[in-house]
């Protein structure tokens, strides 16, 4: 663990055991303000500014994220500490601070990205340089569809929809958060639907293939999409939740171990579909992005080996642009919650 980060984390007001704010009232007020900011930003501000000229739209996102970075002390500390664990001594304290701030910025900009997908998606497509489409076209010419592996990196909500907006039939294996039990309240469901369904899902060819307890046919559903010579998108760094019907395996990942499901390459091997890794990363000006599609990964032999190759490409991108990886949902409570997802034991903390 990066000692600089640990020292910084402790000196920033948090105890070594829990992130405890100085008083409950202060914490409650801060939570209420942040919640108001969150809902206002997503339902009022973003729809109003998203279609303004890009420098202005993304400028608003940056101002808002910097404000949240200052206000969300607990989450900020958690993120800084998490990046310290994930990257060991590679990041200095100053770099960890910058990476954490950029992580906040990346999240705010993602909401603008998603809104700019509304309609034909041209408002976002104009800001994205796509590299490697020839691999996709060649794969579809083979007639067996293709599996596109991506990660929670850059603008993960938009990356598969960009491929859809470019005219490729794509279906994703994913579970939107508003489908979960805790999102059953009608207003919240409606709010999520307005934000996700219209701009993001409208570019996806079929309803999402959802993998959760009680479902058992997701791999077959994905195979049937591939049979129609269409694309299947899968996030290979997705967390494995309790009761998940898949059988996860442990992989070396960054500075630790990760419990992941190598289903993407197994499905590809069984169906004969090629596998490619696709990552959407944001450039330094925060509004332009590059969507990079790798050449096909060899899946003839052991699918786990092929999965490791995909993971290595994702890991290389994370090492190079750490702020753009999104393993650390700030809303999740508890020290190390998100880290446990990636196989870190509590004892590591």
């Amino acid at each position: 663990v990066n000692r600089n980060v640990l020292l910084h984390w402790k000196s920033d007001g948090g105890s070594s055991a829990t992130f405890r704010p100085s008083s409950r009232l202060q914490a409650a007020v801060r939570r209420a303000l942040l919640s108001i900011d969150n809902h206002t930003y997503r339902t009022v501000v973003v729809p109003m500014v998203a279609f303004l000229p890009a420098p202005l739209a993304y400028g608003v996102a940056l101002v808002r994220s910097d404000l949240r970075y200052r206000l969300m002390r607990s989450s900020r500390r958690k993120i800084i500490y998490s990046f310290g664990l994930l990257f060991g001594d590679r990041l200095s304290q100053r770099e960890c601070d910058r990476v954490a701030r950029d992580n906040f910025r990346s999240m705010s900009c993602e909401t603008i990205d998603a809104m700019r997908l509304l309609g034909s998606g041209k408002a976002l497509l104009g800001l994205v340089e796509v590299r490697g489409l020839e691999h996709l076209r060649a794969a579809l010419a083979g007639g067996k569809g293709a599996v596109l592996c991506s990660a929670h990196f850059g603008s993960p909500k938009s990356c598969f929809s960009i491929i859809g907006a470019l005219g490729f039939p794509i279906t994703i294996v994913a579970r939107w958060r508003y489908h979960e039990k805790r999102r059953k309240r009608l207003l919240i469901k409606l709010h999520y639907r307005l934000r996700n369904d219209y701009p993001v899902n409208s570019h996806l060819h079929r309803p999402n293939i959802e993998r959760h307890p009680g479902t058992w046919g997701s791999a077959v559903e994905a195979a049937m999409v591939l049979r129609r010579n269409e694309l299947v998108g899968i996030m290979i760094d997705a967390e494995v939740r309790p009761g998940d019907p898949s059988k996860p395996m442990t992989f070396d990942f960054l500075n630790g171990k990760a419990m992941l499901v190598p289903g993407a390459t197994e499905i590809a091997q069984l169906t004969g579909a090629p596998v490619m890794v696709m990552l959407l990363r944001r450039l330094a000006d925060w509004r332009h992005q590059v969507l990079e599609i790798s050449p096909p990964i060899h899946v003839e032999g052991d699918p786990v080996v092929a999965f490791k190759q995909c993971l290595a490409l994702v890991e290389a991108a994370i090492q190079r642009y750490p702020a753009q990886w999104r393993p650390l949902p700030v809303s999740r409570g508890g020290v190390g919650g998100p880290l446990e997802v990636y196989g870190f034991e509590r004892s590591d903390l």
Partner: protein, 85 residues
């Protein structure tokens, strides 16, 4: 047909065959003998072995709950496909 399917499941889909007694009415989904990926392997095997094509709407638990259910499903598929011919 039952024995062919049973042997395939035991050999190819169960990681520790000695720990499971596979009967024709053993619940395959509830006991987690079949997960998402092993179900895909089984569907591809059935298609190749018995010359059927499984459609998306046929992916219901009733068709894959036990070896008996799978046999009923395969037989009905074969009958339907023969009628079409």
């Amino acid at each position: 047909m039952e024995s062919v399917i049973s042997v395939y499941i035991s050999r190819e889909l169960v990681s520790e065959p000695q720990s499971i007694t596979l009967e024709n009415d053993t619940p395959l989904l509830e006991s987690r003998i079949l997960d998402s990926l092993s179900l895909l392997k089984l569907v591809l095997f059935l298609e190749k072995q018995f010359g059927i094509v499984v459609g998306g709407q046929e992916l219901v638990p009733e068709n894959f709950a036990t070896i008996n259910a799978i046999c009923r499903f395969v037989n009905s598929k074969k009958a339907t496909e023969k009628e079409r011919e």
